[in-house]
Amino acid sequence: MTVAKRTFDVVVVGAGGAGMRAALQLAQAGLKVAVLSKVFPTRSHTVAAQGGIAASLGNVNEDNWHWHMYDTVKGSDYLGDQDAIEFMCRAAPEVVYELEHFGMPFDRLDSGKIYQRPFGGHMQDYGKTPVQRACAAADRTGHAMLHTLYQQNVKANTHFFIEWMALDLIRDEDGDVLGVTAMEIETGEVMIFQARATLFATGGAGRIFASSTNAYINTGDGLGMAARAGIPLEDMEFFQFHPTGVYGAGVLISEGVRGEGGYLVNKNGERFMERYAPTAKDLASRDVVSRAITVEINEGRGCGPYGDHILLKLDHLGDEVIKQRLPGIREIALKFAHVDPAISPIPVVPTAHYMMGGIPTNYHGQVVAPYKTGPDEVVRGLYAVGECACVSVHGANRLGCNSLLDLLVFGREAGRQIIEDLQNHPHPKPLPADAAERPLARLARLENQQNGERVAEVGNEMRKVMQKHCGVFRFPELLAEGVEQIKQVAERVARTGIGDKSRVFNTARIEALELDNLIEVAQATMVSAAARQESRGAHARDDFPQRDDQNWLKHSLYFREDHRLDYKPVRLKSLTVESFPLKARVY
């Protein structure tokens, strides 16, 4: 079978916040850019972000990027690379002002400046008191940001390929990346997108868990493609559980609710966060709050007939504040929790939310992997940004409202780096003869599979295993069993079948291909989690309750082949300021 080919300077896979910020940079530089997206760009998961974007503008309280950097390093439980964290926090005000100039409808203070609210883990003066650092457009910040970035791309005439699903990376004998294969969902046509630079901005993989705040499209496509192409995945054991997913539905309730004065109570009506984080209370870092809620539930102080959730109380804020500052939350509470938050508290539970790990990159967005000379050799032609990348600014736990910032800063920087790198690579390298072999084989298998297992059934099994064996607290036997079970699920994924074999908008086929990607992420997560014998940030072990800097202050690298693990050091040296030394984390 011959596959059609198109050639671009750059192909960007994914049109969420990071992909679109990068695309804007590239389109404005006059490069020939293709942006591939499974869904219409404004339907990317960035749209669901609520509370705000972090930047030390100091519009409400005194603030500076050193404090922001400290909070981010501390929030990351010291697993974050301090060079990348400095780079991000220093650039934050600039990219937020840029976004405002693009037309972002931020809420305003009386002075006319951007409104900022408090957010978990963001403090003044190196951790002393909470600070108002989250720049917000009500509780629809992600929606406003994604639309603003799309609008700017419309202005810049960016070339979008909408409802195209990327299938696999193309690498040659030298390991250089030469583009991707992709399928047009509407027609089922497969095409090669040849490019001198390929940028992955494919977002997260929350759908490996049964209970997740993520959209249905968050299936780890970039990670699956990278893993199949022999690229390692970094720090996959660190999956953040957001403290306040709506009980039963998983839909997210922004941390901005607590920033506006909401707080958590147990079945006795007690504000329990004061016991776990005496200074920051409900505004402690997310892993701290999630763990506290889980302890409350496990020790019998959970709410409801099954004692399996906690209540988020905000009725004391008054109807006015709720309607003005938290209109989206009000909507969600009414629709998914069936309560009016001005009258009754919202039942919530920690829910899988954000993947701190991903495709390893440096802070310029270049993908790095150990090959011959060291752990951080650049993979030529491949870049990654956003949630699918591990820069690593999030370390072991993401600080709230740092993710929208991450998308902007590293989206822009990857764009800049690609423009620079392409000057040294004026011509595309020839494609290998088997460029489309892997995806065509995967499609042929689905086409010809007899008596295959149902995609939905195998997918449900995977999510059940991940939820039970790799949750907020992790237990040694459960992890060991989980590793075996997820490998068995992977064998079943290789035998899935679909009833629908037609070409036009075949969503059954898309879901089967997505499961191929999800299972790679699930295996990486489970294997990495079973190996790390300590508790750090979002990874909490029942049998190793303490952080172990002696043995575990290092990044994990999972290789798909034989489920091999390798490790590399954390970059403790920052760019221009003194590093923050390791210390115990208290909030």
């Binding site: 005000p93 100039h101 305003r108 400046k113 249905y216 059954a508």
Partner: protein, 231 residues
């Protein structure tokens, strides 16, 4: 529960048809999308778009018992049986509940949906008072689901000429933004027998908007601006 769903696959069907489904589901606390996904587990050829499942992305817009809406935020318990589902009206059907949105987005793009301000950007933010910012409320929240435009008879008759409620709501979103300096060009572009003035204030758009926005009011405001600059 009983479902009555529009089916069409150009690969295999000569013509569209309606298919009946029975589903064993307890409606309390569940949304229509939950039911559709269970139906898809039984019959993987049933195709629909979906993404956020919380009403912010607009993917799963469809015609539900004769009224446009989002499956993910429509409670099952609110629907009369048999639940009749069709693709959004007025746009070409690609397959089953999936429509071709090209014409819709063409109109959206035609209003220059981006801030235009050619002053050199200041060092920090462009200032805007809370009152000025409040003018954007009810405008910027649009999720481009197309429920409104595909419920609008004027858009059905002239989809290539009339911008439609979603596009016009966005046009006013930029006209209302104190940071935007292109009001004159924007109004010039809409001063045409079709682009703006085909709105006959039928208000179907307001009736179906899942975000409770009011495109008719925005269109009225544009007409006001148009008149004010003429007198």
């Amino acid at each position: 529960m009983k479902f009555h769903i529009y089916r069409y696959n150009p690969d295999t069907d000569a013509a569209p048809y309606m298919q009946d489904y029975d589903l064993d589901i307890e409606p309390a606390g569940k949304m229509l999308l939950d039911a559709l996904l269970l139906l898809k587990e039984q019959d993987d050829s049933l195709s629909l778009r979906k993404s956020c499942r919380e009403g912010v992305c607009g993917s799963d817009a469809m015609n539900i018992n004769g009224r446009n809406g989002l499956a993910c935020i429509t409670p099952l318990s609110s629907l009369k049986e048999p639940i009749t589902l069709r693709p959004l009206p007025g746009l070409p059907v690609i397959r089953d509940l999936i429509v071709d949105m090209t014409q819709f987005f063409k109109q959206y793009h035609s209003i220059k949906p981006y801030l235009i301000n050619n002053d050199p950007p200041p060092e920090t933010e462009r200032l805007q008072s809370p009152a000025q910012r409040a003018h954007l409320n009810g405008l910027y929240e649009c999720i481009l689901c197309a429920c409104c435009s595909t419920a609008c008879p004027s858009f059905w008759w002239n989809p290539d000429k009339f911008v439609g409620p979603a596009g016009l709501l966005q046009a006013y979103r930029f006209l209302a933004d104190t940071r935007d300096h292109a009001s004159r060009e924007r109004l010039d572009d809409l001063e045409d027998p079709y682009r703006l003035f085909r709105c006959h204030t039928i208000m179907n758009c307001v009736d179906v908007c899942p975000k409770e926005l009011n495109p008719t009011e925005a269109i009225g405001n544009i007409k006001d601006m148009m008149v004010r600059r003429l007198v």
